[in-house]
Amino acid sequence: MTFAIRAEGLVRRFGATTALAGVDLEVPTGTVFGLLGPNGAGKTTAVRVLATLLTPDEGHATVGGYDVRRDAHQVRQLIGLTGQYASVDENLTGTENLLLIGRLLGLSRRDARARAAELLAGFQLTDAAGRAAKTYSGGMRRRLDLAASLVGRPQVLFLDEPTTGLDPRSRNDLWDIVRGLVAEGVTVLLTTQYLEEADQLADEIAVVDHGRVIAQGTPEELKSKTGGQVLTVRPVEAAHLPVVLAVVREVTGATPEVNQTTVAAPVTGPGALPAVVRRLDDAEVQVAELALRGSSLDEVFLSLTGHRAEDDPADLADTADTLEGSPA
């Protein structure tokens, strides 16, 4: 297996804060790798180091086999970057933005123009091509931003929170585009706060918190890591709730969570479901809903980090800037 991105022991500090506290990553060529974590976890810093925008204080990393520090110029010829903030020039039109990148990449005027038209068409922006980007909707701007990062046909694409702030439809559109790119052989490193996004797109996910990778694996592996499955039972009559609670507690050995009239508890063994069914039947409790499901990535995240992915925004606002390293 070849790796498009390799990082070993990346450390990056900003003054007293340590944004990256020793990050190791291996991203196989042609796959989507998701960096998942809350605001201020160090995701953006990791991307900025890998995209040669920041030098690491310790450790080293290669992209496409080139060292991000020593061979930065070569790395820049292989990558495309779409930042957390749409980084197109708002005062240029869609066409001009793409022309600018094409010309900077050394395309002739004609080739740059052709490439711009091709990308605008591919991203359904042809109608808006002659309008200044500041008039674009959020989804259009993000598509243009992505198009700009593709002008040079990158082998490795960094997407830093590509769908933050987008409505569900635009988000789905963007996901489809990313899937299309991967089908064409592009390696994608994606950062996201959305568990669903990582679940949808990534072949492998690294969960990042406080500058460290605290868990890594395929979405399925991560979900099974936290003990696997959750049993939920909802009796027909609310009056039966205490009985259900007692049965579930006894069978699973865990303290169940009660949400209105639904009782939920994590289970480990395969015998729990039939045992609960038998005991409820004996107690003559009628059940409206009985289910066993895999834990969601949300639950995985909670159990790994001790906090929800979208944490208290007030708490994060002051750490985000320093940790992500862009005092803006």
């Binding site: 995209a51 110029h73 070569q74 292989l78 600018l100 700009a148 064409e184």
Partner: protein, 272 residues
């Protein structure tokens, strides 16, 4: 989306090790184009570059002219070089404003992730702002000539004045770059412009002769770079002593660049 055309990384040539200086100049040219073509979509900027200088010439000439010099025509000869200097100082602020905008909006990161010469984003901006300076200067002189301003040293004096103004602007642009990398948002660059450049340009002989000011102020006015540059432009455009003021102007340019260029570059590095 048509699959093969949008990405297809294999179509790209193997990476090269180094950039030629010629490539860096090409990048600078492209980035200068970018700053200039923006004006098309931001007509306010053109207004800023055009109306403000013209307004200053008209206001100063007809409002202050009679009181200060006895007649608008005479005052124009005295004040136009001063107005040109003040306008040049204000114009350098656009460099910092634009740079700050690029930094806060993420455009600068995008540019730096491309295989372009590291100095080209800044150089491109400065080249573009030099073109804007030339536009403002042309406009100021054009309006001035319509109102009766006459060149005392012909075309040679004009070209020399323009060259001196550009050299000085290039040096002063570093102050603007420093402000641009230090402040958190573009609007603050403009606030700085007003709070520093206004007093700087008014405590000079750009608009009124030094003799009427209190003596303590005169000491500052004598060494103020605005005064010195205004004197040099008067010499070149109207007539009078040239060598002294031009040399002093160049000296100021060197001093300003020597102080602010390293600070600005260091500030930019820390910001990234």
């Amino acid at each position: 989306m048509t699959a093969a055309t949008v990405a297809a990384p294999s179509a790209r040539p193997a990476p090269t090790r180094r950039l030629s200086p010629a490539a860096g100049l090409r990048h600078t040219g492209t980035l200068a184009w970018r700053s200039l073509v923006q004006i098309k979509h931001n007509p306010m900027e053109l207004l800023d570059l055009s109306i403000q200088p013209v307004m200053f010439v008209l206001l100063f000439t007809y409002v202050f002219g009679g009181a200060i010099s006895g007649s608008p025509g005479e005052y124009l000869t005295f004040a136009l070089p001063g107005i040109i200097v003040q306008n040049a100082f204000f114009a350098t602020m656009t460099t910092g404003f634009g740079l700050n905008q690029d930094l806060t909006k993420g455009v600068f990161d995008r540019l730096r992730s491309l295989p372009v010469a590291r100095w080209s984003p800044l150089a491109g901006r400065i080249v573009a702002d030099t073109v804007k300076q030339a536009w403002s200067l042309t406009l100021l002189l054009g309006v001035g000539m319509i109102l009766g301003f006459r060149l005392g040293n012909g075309l040679f004096g004009l070209l020399a004045a323009f060259a001196l103004l550009l050299v000085f602007s290039l040096a002063a642009a570093w102050m603007s770059v420093l402000v641009g990398v230090l402040v958190s948002e573009p609007d603050k660059v403009q606030i700085f412009g007003f709070t520093v450049i206004f007093p700087l340009s008014f405590t000079s002989n750009a608009f009124v002769p030094t003799e009427t000011m209190p003596s303590w102020l005169q000491h500052w006015v004598e060494v103020n770079p605005v005064t010195i540059l205004a004197n040099a432009l008067r010499g070149l455009l109207v007539g009078g002593p040239v060598a002294g003021p031009v040399l002093q102007s160049l000296l100021w340019a060197v001093v300003i660049a020597a102080i602010f260029a390293p600070l600005a570059v260091r500030g930019l590095r820390r910001r990234l």
